[in-house]
Symmetry: C2
Subunit: 86 residues, 2 copies
Amino acid sequence: MKRLYFQRDFKRGVDGTFSWLTDELEELKEALKGTDKEATEKEFADVIAWLASLANITGIDLEKAAINKYSNKCPKCKKSPCQCPF
Amino acid sequence: MKRLYFQRDFKRGVDGTFSWLTDELEELKEALKGTDKEATEKEFADVIAWLASLANITGIDLEKAAINKYSNKCPKCKKSPCQCPF
């Protein structure tokens, strides 16, 4: 993702990239209302791609961030599976 | 993520989980305005965690979805790095 998009993302900046991410989330919301699984899968891919773009230009390793916080138990209730009440 | 949260996410359903995801994105937006990199990293982790939750309850493999669409070139312009004008 970084190799593909970093240059372009860096030029666009954080605000512009965040705005694209928000738009993609809206598209995912629409896709989830339908029954086309392939289309929904593509919208999920777009959201994660833009999230990765945003992470890249802010110097954050998305995978590492996820593993650091969500390794093998819930960071809130400290249990696996999670027992949080929401 | 599935092992940790699937039961809880499944009970909450798609709409409720999407709503959490939207809230987490707002928190990420706030964190990006600041200078605390560790806090920002945690917000990125939260967004990806809720996105994974949403994918799990809709029966979609998030990693596979991303790889299918964004393998080694941009799905729009078919180039690497991407040459799209946005």
